[in-house]
Structure formats: structure tokens, C-alpha cells
């Protein structure tokens, strides 16, 4: 059974997504919705890691803790920098690039959940299946948010 590996991969991907969400939030302080919402969405990803931890243990996989956040000094630097660049048109391009990166990371998480859900069914692991069916919709929600936000930002960035 290689479920432990798959669990570890999803947890890693969630952690990367959470970290990137936090970074993007700090980088785009002047885009206030992104700034505020990204931390809410990051905490959702971190909660997913916590939900996976006890199951990973059963399959001999060390999921690790949910943290790995990068706030602190670096985060403050990023926030200050984002205040300075917020007035410049290039901030829009940067936002678009960061949102695209978030989309890719969230996609990786999503397809990871899909695979894990298949494995959970084959293993008849109800507990894992519950976690997958609880968490995967959150990931789809994150993806939809990123998509909506890209659709919103792109016309203004690309044409004005």
C-alpha cells in the first residue's frame, strides 16, 4: 500500500499552497481583498494538513505540522514593498502572475485529492474517504476563487 506516500504528497502540496497564499497576501497589500482573503484560504489549507496527519501516521507517513508560514521579518518586508509598488501599474501584472502561480499550486493539490480519494475507496478506508470528501471541495473553492480573481484582473491589466 502506497497510500502513505500519496498522503504525504497532498500534505506537502497543501503546505506549499498555504505558504504561497500567505506570500501573495503580503505582496499585494494594496489589493485589499487578496490581502485579507489569502490568509483565510491559507488557514483552510493548513487545516487540511492537520486533518491528514493522523491518517498519514497509520500508513507510516510523517505528514509534519501545518506550519511553515513565512511571516515575521520577511513578511513585513514584503508588505512594505507592496505598499511602495501598489501605486504602480506593474502591480497589476505582478498580481496576475501570482494568481496564476496559485492556480497551478491549487490544481496540484486538487488532483492529489482526486487520486487519494480513489485510493481511499479501493482501501475501503472510510476515515480517509471522509477527510477527502470534506477537504477536496475546499480546494475546488480555492481554485474557483483564483479563477474568478484572474478573470477580474486580466482585462484591466492587459488592456488598459
Amino acid at each position: 500500500v502506497k497510500l502513505g506516500i500519496a498522503i504525504g504528497e497532498v500534505a506537502d502540496a497543501e503546505r506549499r499552497l498555504a505558504t504561497e497564499l500567505e506570500r501573495v497576501g503580503e505582496r499585494h497589500e494594496a489589493d485589499h481583498d487578496v490581502h485579507h482573503l489569502s490568509s483565510t484560504l491559507a488557514s483552510i489549507s493548513r487545516a487540511h494538513v492537520e486533518a491528514l496527519a493522523p491518517i498519514g501516521e497509520r500508513y507510516g507517513s510523517e505528514v509534519g505540522d501545518a506550519d511553515g508560514g513565512t511571516s515575521g521579518v520577511l513578511g513585513t518586508v514584503r508588505e512594505k514593498a507592496s505598499e511602495l509598488t501598489g501605486r504602480r501599474p506593474e502591480a497589476g501584472l505582478l498580481l496576475l502572475r501570482d494568481l496564476r502561480e496559485l492556480f497551478l499550486l491549487a490544481s496540484e493539490v486538487s488532483i492529489g485529492w482526486t487520486a487519494l480519494g480513489q485510493g481511499a475507496q479501493a482501501a475501503r478506508d472510510r476515515e480517509l474517504l471522509d477527510v477527502v470528501s470534506r477537504c477536496h471541495p475546499d480546494t475546488l473553492r480555492q481554485l474557483k476563487w483564483v479563477t474568478t480573481r484572474i478573470k477580474q484582473a486580466a482585462p484591466q491589466v492587459l488592456v488598459s
Binding site: 494594496a30 489589493d31 481583498d33 485579507h36 504602480r88 474557483k144 476563487w145 474568478t148 478573470k151 488598459s160
Partner: protein, 771 residues
């Protein structure tokens, strides 16, 4: 000098009202001359709040000399509130703008109309050629007339072709509209004010109705004075007049309404206070709602909201056992964290209980401004005209056919840009032309230091159309003097879909002119044409604009096709939809359990409430093929900013009954100004003690964004919360340049992800004694 009686007692004498009876007449009036001297009475309605109180303006010698309520109108039956009685006096204020102004050498100088409009059109043409439509933003108001909004939507969306059209209605009514779109897939107020006559239980969520719609509150008080008074439930962190009158008052911590409402819905489901046959026949989403609220027990919510679980149970039981339940919602919910989620839960309560569209069973998702409803209908805010769905190509094609333009000329590839994003684009430099009509963002938007710095930018060309030299007009490149109520003709619609006609009674002062004229002038100068090369704007006065709007609204939920100016003159206020089939209008929506939610017809496929992510057509079709109402839920998450060691209090802003918006009119009405001439800071006794503050002491409220100085009023508010009224700006204080009076110096830049309504009642603060 004693204040007038109706300042001291704004709601006047009681005329008791029994359940199911007609509201008795009570005619209120205020005349500054003898009645014999009045030459004419001219039909109008209030534009200083959203109630739509109908009245006649008294005219003598070419001036407005008073006002008298219309006894025959369904909304007020003759009654008037203090702003109705006294507010019209601002029309004759000596400091009205009477000439266009243009910026020359750093200062605003008088100019003629041709020069001013030539500048506006010239800059527009230049920019359109050089940088395209998306460099244009239009920021409108909640106080124009329907005809003006429709012209504005047409000019901006099809003439210029920009998606950046929104109003300050974003600050007052966006969540009402969004919540209705989420639950019913379409905007449109379900209930009627007449539901007050019939209800046995009335729940007001974050709605200080006594101050915001005093005449509607008179109706509630009259029921309370009648033989079978309704039970009253109030949710508000302040001890407002509504909360003091209520039988059950819940005072949650700011930003926790969603947790409270999730618990109330949890209780309804858990205790079986659900009309299962209604739910099964007319809704989708029950299982999801049940699941989403499964853990939301009163004890869970009590922890978050700081409200005793027993009180939540009591309120839930009252709501669960009501037979005729009326719920109203306003800014306490709309301008707080979790806004759309909480407002949607109020809709859910009514869907679960099957209490919609029958006398006494209704939801009133209110709005603050008098004509906010019309921005929603006409597409002058973040919607397309006629509640058309921007995600539905057929709807856009229909609109393009009505306007005779290429569908691609009308931006519809994304939701229309909301106000906060319009200002963000201005900040970023991608919007370079901003036309502000009759609103004052330099006082009313959050985080004013930021807003001022945006409007001051040289690269941004700002046009301001207003009746006074506001704080915003001071920052403009061109100022266009406007006419106001009593000086122009047009229609507008109140919060319960009642349409009124207001007619010109006197001439505007000096060279000021109706907003519609300025917009039509702009369209002519810009040479906007339709697909066949004919003028894009085919109407030339208010009545022809109204006729054009009727065609645009025909067949849509907000159908005006059965209305005419003549009919509105004859019969007073009429509720839309008004059609050939319903010539007398429609008191309530959804009485038959049928909704405007069919995938082909609906205005919106909805959003994810936590993130604001759009739901796509295919998903909507799959989950709601039959066009039922949607039971939707959102989990509670903590607000974007919470009190901490440095800033131990939660800041909320709000209003007083005597003022409207940024006081441009009400502070120029002597009785209203005298009633509330200065801002104040409201805090609880324990918080006052902790800060060493006594009643009347000058204090400073400090947040990470700014500071405000005002005298303290102690009491009447939940511990841990500080309140500052938002009406006050700087035009009427001696300018030492200090920005320490407007509440929005303090507020956070954040908005609800679904409705995009700014969260004025959020953020942290501390209070200090001012030295």
C-alpha cells in the same frame, strides 16, 4: 430655544394599528409661510432616506416654502420624519453651486457650461483614443432619479464601453442585492411595508429602523400600541430605540452576525421548526444547509458572539413559532464582516419556514439611500440593466438589441467592477478619468487618507457633479452644478419597490441644471452612435427616458411597462412589477412559491459566499434546473482585523436620525443641524473607566489608519465596542487642515467577498483622553 416638537419626538403621536387593519392617516406638515400664501403644491417624495415618504412641496414666489405628507400614499399615509419635514430647506441654501468650475492654476475657477463640458468631453475623447474604455470610471450615487441612472448606464456601458460603473450604493445596498441574488437568483425585494400591518413577529437585524426609516418605524410603533402587538426581536450591539423597544435584544460582538444566524438556523432545523413541504417543493440545498449549520449550536455561537446561549434559544424559538414573520436587515449586517452570509441566512429562515409573499410573511432586505433601488435596476451599479445576467449571453444580446449596439461593446466578460476596485484602479493609474455624480467619497469611503491621496493624483481627471462644494468637489478638475429634488422631474423607487414621481416645483439656482441634462449634453458632445450611426441616446427629457427604460425593463422582474407619468400622478406610489397583467402593481413577490430563478431567466448564478468566486452556468443548471429558491450557507470565519492589546476595542460607525450621508443637505437645514451639530464617540461605562474618560470629555479614537476627536457619550453600547457617527466631514469647520473629524479616517479598507460592500463596522481601535 426649544427644539421643534418633531426633533424632540421624531415619531410623533401614535395612531394604534390592529393586526390586518389599514394604517390610519396622519398628515404631517411643516410650512414656513401661512397656508393661504401657498401658491402650488407639487408632488414629490423623500430623497433623504430609502423609505419613499410621499409628500407635496409647497411653493410660493418661486421658492419652496414647506412640505405636507400625502395621506393617499401607501408608504406613509401622510406621515413625515424629521428629515422630510426640514431637509428641503437646503435647496435654498446661499452656498449652492450655481456655476460650473474648472481647475486653472491649481484653483477652481468659475466657467461657462460650454467651457466645462468642452473640457470633460475633450479629455474623454483624448483618453478614449489613446488608452481605451477601461481607463474610464463612473462613480454614481443613491440620490439621482431612475431616468438619470438609465442614461448613465447607457452612456457608460454602451457609449464609452467601460465596465467600471458603480455607485455609493455599494456602501449601502450591495449586500441586500447580493443576498437576494444568492437566495432567489435575482434581485427584487420580496416583502412589502404592509407586512408590518400583519406580522405577529418582527425581527430587525442590524437595523436601527427608528433612525433610518422613521416613518416605517412609526408603523411598527403603531402596531405595538395596538390591541395585538407583534413580538419584536432586535440584533444590535447598541441600545438603539429599536433595541430598547424590543422584547428580545441580542447584542453580538461586531463581526459575528453570521455565527449568530448560523445558530438560529441550526435551532430551526434541530427543533423541527421547518415547513418541510414548502422546502421540498420550492427550494434546493436543504441538506447542504443542514450540514453546514450542524455544529452551530447556541453554545458554539454564544462563545463567538458574546451573547448568552439562552437568549439565542429564546430568539430562535420566537422565530420558529411565529405564524407571520417579518424580517428586516440593514447596515449592522451589511457593513459587517460576514455580510452576505448573514443576510442570506435571514432569507433562509423564511424559506425554511415557508413564510414569503403572504401578508405579514416577508423579508425586507433594506437599503440606506432613497434611490439605491434604481441603481440596481438600471445598471448604474454592479449589474446590467433590467436585472440581466452578465454571464448569460442571451441577456447581453437582448440588451444590445434594445440599445442597437454590438454585444461586444457592452462589457460582460466579468462582473461589473465594484466601487472599491474602481478606486483601486485609480490608485494604480489604470483608470485616468473618474466622473463622480452627487456623492462625497472624500468623506464616505473607508480610510480617507488613502481616498484623498487617490483623488488628488494629477494623472486622474476628476469630474464632480453636485449641488454643494463638497470635500470631494474640492479635489475635482471640473465641477458641474446640479439641480436636486424639487428642481427637476423624474421617478424613483423605495426599498419596497414603490415607484414615485417627483416633479419640478421651482427653477434650479443660477446655472445649475438637472443631472440628466448634463449627461445628455456629454453624450451629444461625445457623438455616441448606435450600430446604424444614429444617436445612441434617443431620449431628450425625463419622460422619454422613462419610456425608454420601460422597454428595457419589459419582461424582466423589475417590469415598469404598465407605468406612466400620468398614472403615477393619478395614483401615487405603485410597486413594481407593474404590467398589463398587474396594472395596480405587485405588493409581494414569490407568494406562489415561484421564483425568477430559472437558469434562462435569472439575474445571477450566485457566488461562493466565503470567497466571492463566481458560480458558472453549467454548475447552476446542474444544481437548480427547476429554478427554485436556493438554501445557501457560509461558514463563520474570524473578521479581517480583531481587537488586540494596542487597540482593545471594536470600532463601528453609523448614523443619526437627523442627518443623511455626509450632511451636505441636512447640515444646511437649521433644525436638523441644531439637533446634531457635532460628532460624538459612544462607549460603554467600563471602557470609559478604563480610559479615564467621563461623559462629555473630549476623546481621541485611534486606529492604525487615523484618529478622530469628539466628545464622549457614555452608555448605550456593548462593552468593548466604540461607535462614531460617519456623517461629519470638514466643509463646515474652520479649516486648519486637520483630518480628525470624519469617522472614515479610522475605518479599514476591506469588503465582503460576495457583495463587495465595505466593512465600515470592522476593525480595531483605542480611545484616549484628548489633551
Amino acid at each position: 430655544v426649544a427644539a421643534p416638537e418633531r426633533i424632540e419626538n421624531p415619531w410623533g403621536e401614535r395612531t394604534p394599528l390592529a393586526a390586518g387593519a389599514d394604517w390610519p392617516e396622519r398628515v404631517d406638515a411643516h410650512l414656513t409661510v401661512g397656508e393661504g400664501e401657498v401658491e402650488r403644491w407639487v408632488r414629490a417624495a423623500s430623497i433623504l432616506h430609502s423609505d419613499g415618504d410621499a409628500y407635496d412641496l409647497a411653493v410660493a414666489d418661486g421658492r419652496i416654502v414647506g412640505v405636507r405628507g400625502r395621506a393617499d400614499d401607501r408608504v406613509n399615509r401622510g406621515r413625515l420624519g424629521p428629515k422630510d419635514l426640514y431637509g428641503w430647506q437646503a435647496n435654498h441654501s446661499p452656498d449652492r453651486l450655481t456655476r460650473p468650475l474648472v481647475r486653472a492654476g491649481g484653483a477652481l475657477e468659475p466657467a461657462d457650461w460650454d467651457t466645462a463640458m468642452g473640457l470633460v468631453a475633450g479629455r474623454s475623447k483624448e483618453l478614449l483614443a489613446e488608452a481605451g474604455a477601461s481607463t474610464f470610471g463612473f462613480y454614481t450615487t443613491g440620490q439621482l432619479f431612475l431616468e438619470e441612472y438609465y442614461a448613465q448606464a447607457l452612456i457608460a456601458r454602451a457609449g464609452i464601453g467601460t465596465n467600471h460603473v458603480d455607485g455609493n450604493t455599494r456602501l449601502c445596498t450591495a449586500t441586500a442585492a447580493e443576498a437576494l441574488k444568492e437566495s432567489f437568483a435575482c434581485d427584487g425585494q420580496p416583502g412589502s411595508y404592509d407586512d408590518v400591518n400583519h406580522a405577529d413577529t418582527i425581527a430587525l437585524y442590524g437595523h436601527n429602523m427608528a433612525a433610518t426609516q422613521p416613518v416605517l418605524w412609526m408603523r411598527v410603533l403603531d402596531r405595538r400600541a395596538g390591541p395585538d402587538p407583534p413580538l419584536l426581536i432586535a440584533v444590535d450591539p447598541r441600545a438603539t430605540p429599536v433595541a430598547r423597544e424590543a422584547d428580545i435584544h441580542l447584542a453580538p460582538k461586531p463581526g459575528t452576525n453570521l455565527a449568530l444566524l448560523n445558530a438560529i438556523v441550526h435551532e430551526l432545523i434541530e427543533r423541527g421548526w421547518v415547513d418541510r413541504s414548502y422546502v421540498d417543493a420550492h427550494t434546493v440545498g436543504f441538506e447542504e444547509l443542514q450540514q453546514a449549520t450542524a455544529g452551530c449550536t447556541p453554545e458554539w455561537a454564544a462563545d463567538i458572539c458574546g451573547v448568552p446561549a439562552a437568549d439565542i434559544r429564546r430568539a430562535s424559538e420566537a422565530i420558529g413559532s411565529a405564524e407571520r414573520l417579518l424580517s428586516t436587515v440593514l447596515q449592522g449586517v451589511y457593513q459587517s464582516h460576514g455580510a452576505t452570509g448573514a443576510a442570506v441566512q435571514v432569507n433562509n429562515v423564511h424559506l425554511l419556514r415557508g413564510m414569503l409573499g403572504r401578508p405579514g410573511c416577508g423579508v425586507l432586505q433594506m437599503n440606506g439611500q432613497p434611490t439605491a433601488e434604481n441603481t440596481r435596476e438600471c445598471g448604474a451599479n454592479g449589474d446590467l440593466p433590467g436585472f440581466r445576467n452578465w454571464q448569460n449571453d442571451t441577456h447581453v444580446e437582448e440588451l444590445a438589441r434594445i440599445w442597437n449596439v454590438d454585444p461586444l461593446q457592452i462589457p460582460h466578460w466579468v462582473e461589473p467592477t465594484h466601487a472599491m476596485e474602481i478606486f483601486r484602479y485609480c490608485e494604480q493609474g489604470s483608470i485616468r478619468f473618474l466622473w463622480i455624480t452627487c456623492t462625497n467619497p472624500a468623506v464616505s469611503l473607508p480610510e480617507l487618507a488613502r481616498i484623498r491621496s487617490i483623488l488628488e493624483q494629477e494623472r486622474l481627471f476628476v469630474v464632480v457633479q453636485d449641488i454643494f462644494m463638497t470635500e470631494t468637489a474640492e479635489l475635482a478638475d471640473v465641477v458641474l452644478p446640479a439641480a436636486t429634488l424639487g428642481e427637476k422631474t423624474g421617478t424613483f423607487t423605495n426599498a419596497d419597490r414603490t415607484v414615485h414621481l417627483a416633479e419640478a416645483a421651482v427653477e434650479p439656482p443660477g446655472e445649475a441644471r438637472p443631472d440628466l441634462e448634463s449627461l445628455l449634453d456629454y453624450a451629444r458632445r461625445m457623438g455616441f452612435t448606435d450600430r446604424d450611426g444614429a444617436p445612441l441616446v434617443k431620449f431628450g427629457d425625463p419622460e422619454s427616458a422613462f419610456e425608454a427604460w420601460k422597454e428595457c425593463s419589459r419582461g424582466r422582474p423589475c417590469d415598469y411597462s404598465g407605468l406612466t407619468y400620468g398614472k403615477l400622478r393619478e395614483s401615487g406610489g405603485i410597486q413594481w412589477p407593474c404590467t398589463e397583467e398587474a396594472p395596480e402593481g405587485t405588493p409581494r413577490l414569490y407568494g406562489d412559491g415561484r421564483f425568477f430563478a430559472d437558469p434562462e431567466y435569472c439575474e445571477s448564478y450566485g457566488k461562493d459566499l466565503l470567497t466571492g468566486a463566481s458560480i458558472e452556468e453549467t454548475e447552476y443548471r446542474a444544481t437548480n434546473p427547476g429554478g427554485r429558491a436556493i438554501l445557501k450557507a457560509c461558514e463563520y470565519t474570524p473578521p479581517p482585523e480583531e481587537p488586540d492589546g494596542d487597540y482593545p476595542l471594536a470600532l463601528i460607525t453609523g448614523r443619526t436620525i437627523y442627518h443623511f450621508h455626509t450632511r451636505t443637505k441636512t447640515a444646511r437645514a437649521p433644525e436638523l443641524n441644531a439637533a446634531a451639530p457635532e460628532p460624538w464617540v459612544e462607549l460603554a461605562p467600563a471602557d470609559a473607566r478604563a480610559a479615564g474618560v467621563e461623559e462629555g470629555d473630549l476623546v481621541e479614537v485611534v486606529t492604525p489608519r487615523g484618529r478622530v476627536r469628539a466628545p464622549a457619550r457614555i452608555g448605550g453600547i456593548r462593552e468593548g465596542v466604540v461607535f462614531v457617527p460617519f456623517h461629519y466631514g470638514y466643509w463646515d469647520v474652520d479649516g486648519d487642515g486637520a483630518h480628525d473629524r470624519a469617522a472614515n479616517e479610522l475605518t479599514i479598507t476591506a469588503w465582503d467577498p460576495a457583495s463587495k460592500q465595505p466593512l465600515f463596522k470592522a476593525g480595531k481601535a483605542r480611545v484616549e483622553r484628548a489633551s
